[in-house]
Amino acid sequence: MTAQLAVEAISTGEAWVFWTLGPLAVLAAIGMVVARNAVHSALFLVLVMLCLGVFYVVQSGPFIGLAQIIVYTGAIMMLFLFVLMLVGRDASDSLIEVLRGQRVAAILLGIGFAGLVATAFYRALQDVPAQGLQTANVPSNVHGIAALMFTRYIFAFEVTSALLITAATGAMILAHIERRRDQRQTQPERMRSRFAPGNYPGPKAGPGVYATSDSVATPARLPDGRHSERSVPQILPKRELTEAEAAPKGTASPFGRGAEYGGGSTVSRRSEYGGGAAGRPDDSAGNHVPAAPSVGQGGEGR
């Protein structure tokens, strides 16, 4: 670093930005690692990425900063959230350690690694000034990046297109479900099974507004007066309502309160939807202690 090179002084504003957002980014990163809920992890990571985007903009890279915000927090993290919603929110970790003492060892190693690398970089770079990008960013940052990318890095740029096409094709192949020829349903078969006995083709009954209640926890009435438990959202009573609120409201059913509600079909639904993902004893052991015995694991897992 010779003296005739241009030296960019770091402004006080940039120092303020760094000392505000830097600790915030580190805290959010730690929060991402320790958060039990995967959705919380994703949101913490979004916070880290936004901080880094601000850092890029501050370090005279407005294009890469905006690309960071748009591509990372806008596209990649939303893809993460989509997959989280598809996989199910049960996606919290098990507390069982397969390798004994792995967590403690990993944390100790991490502290050691961070101390080593951070100290090395700090000692190596504490006196190195930034040359700054004022000359490189003429006439603007986008011009400079374009001039470099389409001359010196043109081959890498072309290879990137092959990479993206490969990734898109691979994702389509992995997400595709191949049906065997004998399992394929033709349109007449589909229509026949739709109108066959045992399947009701019309719209399902909705939860209604009655004289005594307008809650969505009020089950709809079937033509014969019974409650239709399918009309009540399964997730709602178990999560956000107390037991008394979740109980079927009295709509003067001739069959009494909750004749069908909570019957055998509820159990079958629960095992059908929630049993596979969250009801397994091995992967949810120790994560969710159900608040009450009536709050089933099927409700926790959705």
Partner: protein, 99 residues
Amino acid sequence: MQPGYYIVLAALLFTIGAVGVLIRRNAIVLFMCIELMLNASNLALVTFGRINGTLDGQIMAFFVMVVAAAEVVVGLAIIMSIFRTRRSASVDDANLLRY
């Protein structure tokens, strides 16, 4: 303040991501930790570019971003297909190749 502080911050974030890969079990959270490590390396690249006064660091960060996007697409598709067959996103459950 010197730009070396950004590098120290990048090292810290990278380490947090690496520790997260070691201690978490959920495959999606593992992917997020890998993303954090890639982001930390991006911050280091941008800062190095600024120290050297060239835009090459930003271009490399841009390519890292593209590769990360492709990697996330394929990785999440793999996680989805594993989840479809095993009904679990935990990396401990995918042990078919172990025996």
